[in-house]
């Protein structure tokens, strides 16, 4: 079993069924996990900010830092490994408000809204979502099964894909 760590502002896509993708301490960042249950191709993106227009130069160097540049690249990378869009099961995690709750620009929420807008315009529906709150999350996804484990504090929840491809639903 190989553990592939996705850092902040990074993305890994793999077709190795022995791989587990993991990303730590999401905080206000969002992790997008995608999985093709037929080919066992999966990807995990950990982005920090909603909009690359804030820093176009940085977005060129580090596109996975931003929702609008990172999310399309995540999907394109999966397609290059043979993943089929209609089969992809998409899970979204993170977007917590971990700082002072009087913070005006709730970046976790803005990261989430940016994702929702991108997905709606692209016609992608999310199969599972665990966002918001105040606790930071750690996420890992096994490519053998597409199973996702979400840890918040001392608790861990498992999201199981049904593996049916189109129309499949993650359970919680």
């Amino acid at each position: 079993m190989s553990l592939l760590v996705v850092g902040i502002g990074e993305c890994i896509v793999s077709d190795d069924p022995g791989a587990t993708l993991v990303t730590y301490a999401l905080g206000s960042c969002i992790a997008v996990a995608i999985f093709d249950p037929v080919l066992k191709v999966g990807g995990l993106l950990h982005y920090m900010l909603p909009d690359s227009a804030l820093d176009a130069e940085k977005a060129r160097r580090r596109p996975f830092m931003f929702a609008d540049t990172g999310i399309p690249l995540l999907f394109q990378s999966a397609y290059q490994l043979g993943a089929v869009r209609s089969r992809l099961e998409v899970a979204v995690l993170g977007g917590a408000q971990v700082m002072d709750t009087s913070e005006t620009f709730n970046i976790g929420k803005r990261n989430h809204l940016a994702l929702r807008k991108i997905f709606w315009k692209a016609g992608i529906l999310v199969r599972a979502e665990d966002v918001g709150g105040t606790q930071s999350r750690t996420v890992r996804m096994e490519l053998a099964t597409g199973r996702i484990a979400v840890r918040r504090g001392l608790t861990e929840e498992i999201l199981e894909p049904s593996g049916r491809g189109k129309g499949a639903t993650y359970g919680v």
């Binding site: 209609s86 709606w120 016609g123 992608i124 529906l125 999310v126 199969r127 129309g167 639903t169």
Partner: protein, 133 residues
């Protein structure tokens, strides 16, 4: 098996949004019909085969509550499942619509996935009923 759906809402924008959600949800849809009020919906129901009705409540001419009463009192229409989509989230309205025979109730605003899941549950029920016949 592919399903025929009737969307009833006085808002063309909401009807368009609902259509998009249904398409993106990967449901097996054959035809998607539109009506802007309960009377138009009844006319369509009496002229077309419809498997599921999605209806708003607040509409001119005939509202969703009146439409549901008409559907549930018509022997040819009473078995058609109705899903209510409305801004009204009061317990009173919810109970009234369920008592009139609505199968489920989605409140506006809603996430597309919420509507998609409600439709999947409804269609799963219809598929099970089909298999029993």
């Amino acid at each position: 098996m592919a399903f025929n759906v009737l969307i009833v809402d006085d808002s063309p924008a909401m009807r368009k949004l609902i259509r998009r959600v249904l398409t993106l949800s990967g449901l097996e849809l054959s035809h998607c019909l539109d009506a802007a009020n309960g009377q138009e919906a009844l006319d369509l129901l009496r002229a077309n085969w419809v498997d599921i009705v999605l209806t708003d409540i607040n509409m001119p001419v005939m509202n969703g509550e009146q439409l549901l009463k008409e559907i549930s009192s018509d022997t040819l229409l009473e078995t058609i499942p109705v899903l209510v989509i409305s801004t009204d989230r009061t317990e009173t309205r919810l109970q009234r619509m369920m008592a009139l025979g609505a199968r489920d109730y989605v409140t506006k605003p809603f996430l597309p996935e919420t509507l998609g899941c409600a439709m999947e549950r409804l269609l799963a029920g219809e598929r099970r009923a089909e298999n029993r016949i």
